[in-house]
Symmetry: C2
Subunit: 353 residues, 2 copies
């Protein structure tokens, strides 16, 4: 059993902790949290050992009646691997802590790429993480793009990718974030930093990205253009992507027009927290014009990196092959929504036919 | 076993169906739906028998590969009680269907009060529904106000209630609704119709309400003022309300500042769809100035009426007493969030102390 600690218990950390508990080959040592808010309370209620991320705040937990198992140093000492899910920039400060304990650690995509030996996406470069001391699971957007671009590049060759990322302003609980009535070019200088982040996974890939921020909290949506080396029909692209376990097609008859209904569907399907671990590609949107492929995909910023963090734990420890790990993660979490749709096997008709 | 049919499988219907299945004394006959969208697919996936609400649309279900058990007439014929969760106004059209089958039915608060023999809130007037042919579960807002006002009126006497309802514009999946950047007096004529709706439960109550609509989808929030006949301290009011099983206090240390974090908390606590069946009262907000009580409460429009619909099934059939039904519904669904908070039993300090 791999003993896994989770440092940080917010949006990503609580999901990683739950996912670790769902793995047959992993054991959750506990989670570290800076303050005794509702998330700390639910961690305790879930039976997770709770560690104070800041030793000087132990009193706050005591005052709130929230029991602690120790401080974050104890957590790291007891873990074979730590998944660091602290806010952007804090991971870099924590690196010394993991070095001191000689404990391998997995950072999140909010950290700079140079925090780790390798940036990681399970589909694209699983094997590169094996034996590393530090691995960085790339951001939600880069994860979503990597899953899509890997099969396209392998099968058709990518001449150039151009992606507009229409990003949610904040997560549902981030009441301090904006915008509340605007569409912000963000960053306004082009191309955006998202393309270079994708290149941490695909160093040779030719990709330009543009980012905007809108008044939405549920998901990001990507407007994707990929100029291919060859010119497959839309049906062929559709069939290729249908073979990828972490890509979900939103069927035409489902009546799902955006992130609101996608999240409602996820909750109806019994997903914990309404999470969508898969890229959600509108099947109807897949179109090929000459050698240009176009599609829309929605990316759940809170959860699409969760399966990748689990795979990263196995990759960094060398405890399973890529295929074994992805299959085990998918099986244990329940990744894959296609089976929900009775009509999923109907013939696909491309919009440009 | 009470055989319960659910006509309409949208926001309320799917939750009622799940709740029926959780009851030890009820059996779900099936659900009726107008079209084969994602909700119909998940109904089938849940193992619910699906009936076409519009017989002329059976072909649409066949085309989408979604299997039907029959049409809505079959559902009503096989049910002891039908819960009608169709959109506002459709319930009135369906009344003749239930009369034809001599099947008792429970309508939702979107219908006019005169559709039914009695408007219903489990806490306030359970016994009035027993033996009725038609019962109307009042709206989410009226339910939330009834749960709060019943104990206040019984214990202190309500001289006058004045409530501003800051309402969500639409549910998360209702992408056609607004406003997207405005605060609408709605209705602009005062007082609003919400007060008279509360009076369908408390005919003698003196209440004025004012409604607004804002760009939010998660919950309604009520700004409540109740002028009492007596002048209890805030602590006494707090202790009185703490004894009510469907009122939840948001503790001060929880770090929950609005509906976004309330919903996140509900999902962390493992609630299906992140539902909040309880009124969510900010404990810190409870204040008494002379004989005026003030507080803020958030109401989850998608789910607070679910326990009430379950109780209405027992009330209309006379199969359980008020106390038995409320306890059984609470137990089977898991109503009550206070236990999540380890620090819940800390002394309450009113803001005006």
């Amino acid at each position: 059993m791999l003993k896994v600690g989770v440092n940080g218990y917010g949006t990503i950390g609580k999901r990683v902790a739950d996912a670790v508990c769902a793995q047959p080959d992993m054991e959750l040592v506990g989670v570290a949290k800076t303050r005794p808010n509702f998330e700390a309370e639910t961690a305790v209620r879930n039976g997770y050992s709770l560690y104070a991320a800041l030793p000087e705040r132990v009193d706050q937990f005591d005052d709130a009646g929230v029991p602690l198992a120790g401080v974050v140093d104890d957590l790291v000492a007891e873990s074979d691997v730590v998944v660091d899910t602290t806010p952007s920039g804090i991971g870099a400060q924590n690196r010394e802590l993991y070095e001191r304990h000689d404990t391998p650690a997995i950072f999140q995509g909010g950290e700079d790429a140079d925090i780790a030996d390798v940036s990681f996406n399970a589909r694209a470069n699983y094997d590169e993480a094996t034996g590393a001391q530090f691995v960085r699971t790339v951001s939600c957007n880069t994860t979503g793009l990597s899953r899509l671009l890997a099969p396209l590049d392998e099968t058709y060759g990518v001449k150039k990718a151009r992606v507009t990322l229409v990003r949610r302003g904040g997560d549902p609980g981030q009441t301090g974030r904006g915008p509340i009535n605007d569409i912000l070019p963000d960053p306004v200088t082009l191309p955006s930093h998202h393309g270079p982040d994708v290149q941490t996974i695909f160093p040779e890939l030719n990709i330009d990205t543009l980012g905007l921020k809108v008044p939405a909290t549920l998901m990001h949506t990507h407007s994707v253009n990929v100029t291919l080396e060859s010119t497959p029909a839309a049906e062929e692209v559709r069939d290729l992507l249908a073979g990828e376990s972490r890509l979900f097609f939103v069927p035409k008859h489902a009546g799902i027009d955006g992130a609101g209904k996608l999240k409602e569907f996820a909750m109806d399907a019994g997903r914990p927290r309404g999470d969508l671990w898969e890229n959600c590609i509108w099947e109807e949107s897949i179109a090929v014009q000459d050698d240009d492929l176009y599609l829309f995909q929605a990316i759940h910023q809170e959860s699409d990196v969760i399966p990748e963090n689990i795979d990263a734990v196995r990759a960094i420890t060398g405890s399973a092959s890529k295929e074994e790990s992805i299959a085990l993660t998918n099986e244990s979490l329940g990744v894959g929504l296609d089976s929900v749709f009775a009509g999923q096997n109907q013939p696909f008709v491309a919009a440009d036919d």
